[in-house]
């Protein structure tokens, strides 16, 4: 089997889909395609779509924080092979540092910040950290000139970076109840970095902004919706403001069940929600409730059919999704998270090919 696509990549298709306008076909997008699939597509090693080394640029080590993104020429080739309209530049994790035992600054990933006193040890991200990412972004923007492929930046996870790397999950969640000043101070430090990234990215000419922050899980948000809205909304609004002020659309990613904040996201001016986690979201239900208000993205399940099913199962599931999601537009096709190495080559090809075969308007 090989990739059989319909219609060249065109960022206008994706942006029109955000707006709910008519397009030739459903656009396709993955924020991460891991290295096995990239090697298969290009016939040589070229890393993953988020990092040249093949490791997901998770920002958990000093090396990862400095890592080069995928070579732009390779990324453009990938877009042409699968028909993706956009390339993503990763700037997900605010690089908080502290002085290590060797006397040098290192990325904080040990969840060691537990008190206001500890916060004083943090070395916040600098303009140099911002410039590193923006210079990579500019390489992408230069490379797509002469093509119809757009560029987006993946950023903004001020909540997640703190619970995942800086404080630790349980301590951070409890502190949202018991020590709001602590969590707000940390979030604000991260927000400052993301605002600088977004401003510079918007000035550089991105097609849309992609903010990602995992705020929920299988059954709902981690913290009560009212508290969440107080803590999270104004900060995310600050991050996305430079984009919205310039008329640049904003896409949002969070795993988990988002029922409690869908109306809020729409009200904030978000154009697209990804990835409609299939363990908590029924795409049929979301299409009915939100399909005419916001673009919905993703939901092809990593477990079944992508990992455990056959190419025929994949095709069947894609057809079922398209039948529900295509009417009225506002559907950005993709997996329920990312194209990881444990998905077989055959199943990923079947997924892409089914979209191009059955996803035409």
């Amino acid at each position: 089997m090989a990739f059989k696509t319909y219609g060249e990549p065109d960022i206008e298709r994706l942006l029109a889909t955000f707006r709910g306008e008519k397009t030739d076909r459903v656009p396709i997008s993955e924020n991460l395609i891991e290295d096995k699939h990239i090697t298969h597509m290009l016939g040589r090693k070229a890393g993953s779509t988020l990092g040249e080394t093949g490791d997901v640029a998770k920002g958990t080590t000093d090396e990862a924080a400095q890592a080069r993104p995928m070579d732009p020429k390779n990324y453009i080739k990938v877009c042409n092979i699968i028909g993706q309209d956009v390339i993503f530049m990763e700037a997900l994790w605010a690089p908080f540092k502290k002085i290590g035992k060797d006397g040098k600054p290192h990325i904080i990933a040990d969840r060691s910040i537990k008190s206001k006193e500890n916060i004083k040890k943090i070395i916040p991200p600098t303009q140099k950290d911002v410039d590193l990412k923006i210079n990579f972004l500019k390489e992408y923007l230069r490379a797509v000139k002469g093509t119809k492929i757009g560029v987006s930046i993946l950023t903004g996870c001020f909540f997640q970076v703190n619970y995942e790397f800086v404080v630790g999950f349980t301590d951070f969640m409890v502190k949202t109840y018991e020590d709001r000043e602590f969590v707000e101070e940390l979030m604000d430090m991260a927000v400052d970095y993301y605002v600088k990234i977004v401003k510079a990215a918007c000035d550089s000419g991105i097609s849309f902004l992609f903010v990602a922050d995992d705020v929920g899980f299988k059954t709902g948000l981690f913290i009560p919706p009212e508290l969440f809205k107080e803590l999270w909304r104004p900060r995310m609004e600050k991050i996305i403001a430079p984009a919205l002020n310039k008329g640049i659309p904003v896409m949002f990613h969070s795993d988990g069940k988002l029922d409690d904040i869908m109306d809020m996201l729409i009200d904030m001016g978000i154009s697209c929600v990804n990835p409609m986690d299939p363990y908590s979201i029924d795409y049929r239900d979301y299409k009915k409730r939100y399909g005419d208000k916001i673009c919905l993205s993703g939901n092809i399940d990593l477990e079944f059919p992508l990992s455990k099913g056959t190419p025929e199962d994949v095709e069947k599931d894609v057809i079922e999704h398209l039948k529900v999601m295509m009417p009225g537009g506002r559907y950005l096709f993709g997996s329920s998270h990312s194209i990881v190495n444990y998905i077989s080559i055959e199943n990923y090809e079947a997924m892409v090919n089914a979209l191009h075969k059955y996803g035409r308007y």
């Binding site: 999950f169 409890v174 299988k218 059954t219 990992s307 444990y342």
Partner: protein, 228 residues
């Protein structure tokens, strides 16, 4: 220590106050309430089994229904722990109805531990002793832990489909070591289903942390009945 000793000078505490302290996560206040209740002659075992465990059950139900969120669950567990710290000296050598030992971990290759940690909270709140092996645990380490701690239940958590493919390896390693019949194996995690558990030949499945505590409690009680 004699837990029937009365101190008539102490204000009588309504067990409902202790229950509410757990449900509302008042971990700073609960110690005093438990101390006073003991001083008023209520047996430690009664406080544990008739007040604390049911309270944590209520918390779990509220979490499952969406009324409670992660901080509520953690704070309730902290209150439960504070109460247990007071009760412990009175319970030495006594076996509670729900006591059991569980070894928990995430499967080899899986670094996601939020689900496992929530299960730990609910299990401890329901009276289990939990030994947490952490994340990314290989089959051989399971075998060593079962030999060393002799748990009634081995709890395996996994978020990724690929890593769940390592569950049969664990079952096989336990079988090879002659330990499979000595421990119940429970598996959970977002992509895990009852069908998956049946297929790989594990014993227990729970869809969330609250259900895990209920399923494990039931399994232990069944096991005890069959050995009596």
């Amino acid at each position: 220590m004699d837990d029937t000793e009365k101190n008539k000078g102490e204000k009588m505490v309504n067990p409902e106050q202790i229950k509410q302290a757990v449900i509302k996560g008042k971990y700073k206040e609960i110690s005093k309430l438990v101390e006073n209740t003991l001083k008023n002659g209520v047996k430690a075992m009664n406080i544990l089994e008739e007040v604390l465990y049911p309270s944590m059950g209520t918390v779990g139900d509220k979490f499952s229904s969406g009324e409670y969120f992660i901080p509520d669950l953690i704070l309730a567990a902290k209150a439960m722990q504070a109460a247990m710290d007071i009760l412990k000296p009175y319970l030495v050598g006594k076996k509670t109805k729900q006591s059991g030992l569980v070894v928990m971990c995430t499967i080899e290759g899986d670094l996601h531990d939020v689900g496992k940690n929530l299960v730990n909270i609910m299990l401890e709140g329901s009276g289990f002793k939990v030994i947490d092996l952490g994340i990314d645990v290989k089959a051989q380490k399971f075998v060593e832990a079962v030999k060393k701690y002799k748990p009634q239940i081995l709890g395996i958590s996994g978020l990724l489909t690929t890593t769940l493919a390592n569950v049969p390896k664990v079952l096989e390693a336990l079988k090879k070591a002659g330990l499979r019949e000595k421990v119940l194996v429970g598996v959970g995690g977002a992509p895990v289903t009852q069908d998956f558990v049946n297929r790989v030949g594990a014993d227990l499945y729970a869809k969330d942390a609250n259900q895990a505590a209920k399923v494990f409690t039931k399994a232990i009680s069944k096991q005890r009945q069959s050995t009596q």
